[in-house]
Every structure is written in structure tokens, then in C-alpha cells.
């Protein structure tokens, strides 16, 4: 089975992916609820230009100036294998990839 996860990307990554609004990703949940890592895998598969832009390709860890928000919570420091919140799994809330406020 799959669930559909809504993902909101920041301006630069929407341009790079060639999308104008949020994207919807089918994520396999046979082995359990979808995780951050599964969403990132699905996102990079659907939009190859995003590979390396959210996760460092050498470590596969979130880049320092990227944040993950959903439902008013900061999920940035959750383990990549942690299940996503129920409203995200249900499609009621998007999973937001955010460029941190920094720099000029």
C-alpha cells in the first residue's frame, strides 16, 4: 500500500524541480508509517534535480540550513526513521521543507 504525502518546497527548490505548488508523493507504507527518510527518497526519485539539495549526498543527513516543519511543529531534529505525524500521513497537513532564515 501507499500513502500520499504533500510536500511544500522552498522557492529555489520549486524552481529546480520545475514545480509551482506543493507536490504529492506516493510513499510505500507496507513496512510501517511513512518516515522522513522515505519522503526524501520518494522526493529525490520523482525529482532527480533535488538530489543533494536537501540531504548531503555524502552523509544523507539534512543540510544545516534546511528545516522540516509540519502542523506547527519543528521535525528537523527527529530521527530520519521516525514516523511522520498522523495529519501528514493522512494528507491533512503538508510536510514543509524550509530554507532557514539566514544570510543575505
Amino acid at each position: 500500500m501507499t500513502c500520499v504525502i504533500r510536500v511544500v518546497l522552498p522557492h529555489h527548490l520549486r524552481n529546480l524541480a520545475g514545480v509551482s505548488h506543493e507536490v504529492r508523493l506516493a510513499v510505500d507504507d507496507d513496512a510501517g508509517p511513512a518516515t522522513q527518510a522515505a519522503v526524501m527518497d520518494a522526493l529525490e526519485t520523482a525529482y532527480p534535480p533535488l538530489r543533494g539539495t536537501i540531504r548531503d549526498p555524502a552523509t544523507m543527513r539534512r543540510r544545516p540550513f534546511i528545516r522540516f516543519y509540519a502542523g506547527g511543529d519543528d521535525l528537523s531534529h527527529d530521527p530520519p526513521e521516525a514516523p511522520l505525524p498522523d495529519p501528514v500521513l493522512a494528507g491533512a497537513e503538508p510536510f514543509c521543507v524550509v530554507g532557514a532564515m539566514a544570510g543575505g
Binding site: H12, P49, G52, T53, P57, A58, G103
Partner: protein
């Protein structure tokens, strides 16, 4: 393509500026990849319609863009720059060992005869290569794993391979320059490397004539005379007549020999250009006058070129990759400033005009030309 295409990388995007062979009227297009740092854009000598661009930010990392139609359309290609094997360590600013960590591509050097083959000089210092048009990049690890690598330290702007020279007649012979390690030479297509810094003296390091550790800002040469190399070092303008085996100073009568770029005239191997700035702690022109200096004698004797350049209240710098020459006759010379101006001379530097003003900080300038 007819005429001239100037590829300008800036801190907030790329720009393409075109003119016919007269090089008097210019059309500016951009920004490409707006909001991203474009450290370098380069065209293939074998196919002028094939362009590559290095696009990066501190937020989203490295992207490589490729155009097959002279810059009208672009598509991202591969951006995986993974060091080969054990990354090892180099020295950090505080003198502690620090693992090599990829940050960005500083310089792209397309092959002379294959549009799909490109070298990339990266930070932390290493050399990568693609042979499939940018889809896949692999490291040539012999440079990073040189026995001196653990002693390399970054300069103020990072530790990067910023210059790649390939002898067009003997492509197996390559030179790279690294801030702040110095020049390295390979005679086997990048498999193995040896330092090429004999004769350099740098006051800012404990052993002034050390084998490595020099802050070389840029090296350049005329393709028809590959054994003669010119260098703008942190301080000192230098020359080698033996392919980098030894260097001697040619600063001569320059008002200051600190600067970043150096370029060689397209048709006169002994005509060299530099842009002196005041000092290592004052990165702007002496007396607030922007002057390119030209030597027609291979160094030592220099003349200021000022016509069309601001001669008062000018406090810009010209970065190491921001000067280029075209192959037309007379030779065109181009440079971009940290103030966002790009200046061009269609008469080998005698007179200049700004071909664009008020761009973001200019990081690089390259030129493609066809008579």
C-alpha cells in the same frame, strides 16, 4: 554563434552578455539561477553551444547546470561530488586536523576537444572529472592524497582548486593551483602530482620558501607556449619558463604586487595583464583608481591602462576568476568587479567600457568568441 559571448558568474546568479565582433554594443540576459551563487560558467571549446555552470548556496548545496543551446535553456545534471576512498584530513584554521568536506565547485574546465568532458576544481581542494556531460563526476584522487595534503590549510575564502590549466598539445600535462597550498603539476593526466612552487617566497608562512603552503591566487599561460606560466600570488607576480619547475619574480615597477587575477593576451604570449590592489588588508585599488596593468615584455615592465576606467573614488576588487581574453583581433580583454561592473576592452586594454553595471558581486568572467 558569431561575435562574443561573455559568461558572468555572480553572487546572485549568472548573466550572459553578447555582442558582435565590434564589441561595442552589448545585450545583457539574466539572471540565470537567480539568487544562487554562480562561481563559474564555462563553454566547451569543442562546441560553443555547450555551456556548464556551477550553481550553489549554503542552503541547498551544489547544482551543476548544462546548456546545449548556448545558454537559451538549461537543465541540471549530476551534482554528486564524493571523494574517492578515505577522505583523510587537512589542517583547519586553528591548526587542528579536519576531514575533507565538499563545499562547492569553484572552477569548471571543459576539455579542448570533447564537449562531454570537463574537469572541476572544488572546495575542499580536489579535482573531479566528468566524461558524460556532467551526469556523473569522479575524483582524480592523486591530487588530494598527495603526501603533503594533510598539511594544506584554507585561505580566507576556503581551500579550493581554483585554477586548472591543461596543455592543449599535451593534455596529459596539467597544472592546478590551490589556495593556500600552491601549484601542483601532473604529467600523467592527473593520476599523480608534484608540487611546483620552487622560487616562491611567502612572508605569511613560517618557512617562506616551503614546498607547499603558498597562497597562489591565479596562474595563466598562452596555449602556444605552455612552459611559460604567469602567476599572481597573494603578494608577488611571478613567472616560470620551465612549466612550473621554478619561478622568478616579475613584479617590476607595479605600484603594488598584490592582486587576484592574471591573464595573457590571446595572440602575444609576452603580453600579460594584472589588476593590482592596495594590500592584503585593503582589497581595493591604490589611490582609489581602477587600473589594469599590462606588460608587453613578459613581466618586469608594466604600464597602467586607465582609459574608460574610474579614476577616483573606486573601491572595488577583481576576483581571481573574473578576468578573461577573447581570441579576436585585436584581442578583447574583460573583467568583472566586486561592485558589479563588467568592463571590456576591444583593443587589448588601451580603452575600456563598462558593458554592464550594478550586477551582484562578480565572481567569474569567461569569454567565448568566434570571428
Amino acid at each position: 554563434m558569431t561575435g562574443v559571448r561573455v559568461l558572468v558568474g555572480t553572487a546572485k546568479g549568472g548573466f550572459i552578455i553578447e555582442s558582435d565582433g565590434k564589441r561595442s554594443d552589448w545585450k545583457v540576459e539574466g539572471p540565470l539561477f537567480g539568487g544562487w551563487e554562480v562561481y563559474h560558467m564555462a563553454g566547451s571549446p569543442a562546441d560553443p553551444s555547450r555551456l556548464y555552470a556551477s550553481q550553489s548556496t549554503g542552503w541547498f548545496g551544489q547544482v551543476i547546470q548544462r546548456s546545449d543551446d548556448g545558454g537559451r535553456s538549461w537543465a541540471p545534471v549530476g551534482n554528486q561530488f564524493l571523494y574517492d576512498g578515505d577522505t583523510g584530513t587537512h589542517l583547519w584554521y586553528d591548526g587542528t586536523p579536519r576531514p575533507w568536506q565538499f563545499a562547492r565547485v569553484w572552477h569548471l574546465e571543459p576539455s579542448a576537444d570533447d564537449p562531454d568532458s570537463v574537469y572541476a576544481g572544488v572546495e575542499d581542494a580536489a579535482l573531479f572529472q566528468t566524461t558524460d556531460g556532467g551526469a556523473n563526476w569522479s575524483e582524480l584522487p592523486g591530487l588530494r592524497t598527495h603526501r603533503s595534503g594533510p598539511s594544506w590549510q584554507p585561505g580566507a575564502g576556503g581551500m579550493a582548486v581554483h585554477t586548472i590549466l591543461i596543455d592543449p598539445a599535451r593534455p596529459e600535462q596539467m597544472h592546478v593551483a590551490i589556495s593556500a597550498a600552491g601549484v601542483f603539476r601532473s604529467d600523467d593526466s592527473g593520476a599523480t602530482w608534484r608540487p611546483a612552487n620552487k622560487g616562491l617566497r611567502s612572508g605569511g608562512i613560517p618557512d617562506e620558501d616551503a614546498e607547499v603552503g603558498h597562497c597562489v591566487h591565479r596562474i595563466a599561460r598562452h596555449p602556444a607556449r605552455p612552459d611559460v606560466l604567469f602567476m599572481q600570488k597573494h603578494w608577488d607576480v611571478m613567472r616560470s619558463d620551465d612549466g612550473g619547475d621554478s619561478w622568478y619574480e616579475i613584479s617590476g615597477d607595479l605600484p603594488t604586487d598584490f592582486g587576484f587575477p592574471i591573464a595573457v593576451h590571446a595572440h602575444e604570449p609576452d603580453t600579460v595583464y594584472v589588476v593590482p590592489i592596495t594590500s592584503d588588508s585593503e582589497h581595493y585599488p591604490p589611490d582609489a583608481r581602477l587600473r589594469v596593468y599590462r606588460s608587453r615584455t613578459g613581466g618586469g615592465e608594466w604600464e597602467p591602462l586607465t582609459a574608460g576606467l574610474p579614476q577616483q573614488n573606486c573601491y572595488v576588487n577583481v576576483l581571481r576568476d573574473a578576468m578573461a581574453v577573447d581570441g579576436l583581433d585585436p584581442c578583447g580583454v574583460y573583467f568583472g568587479t566586486t561592485g558589479g561592473q563588467v568592463y571590456a576592452s576591444a583593443d587589448a586594454g588601451d580603452t575600456w567600457q563598462p558593458i554592464v553595471r550594478d550586477l551582484p558581486r562578480v565572481l567569474s568572467v569567461e569569454v567565448q568568441a568566434r570571428p
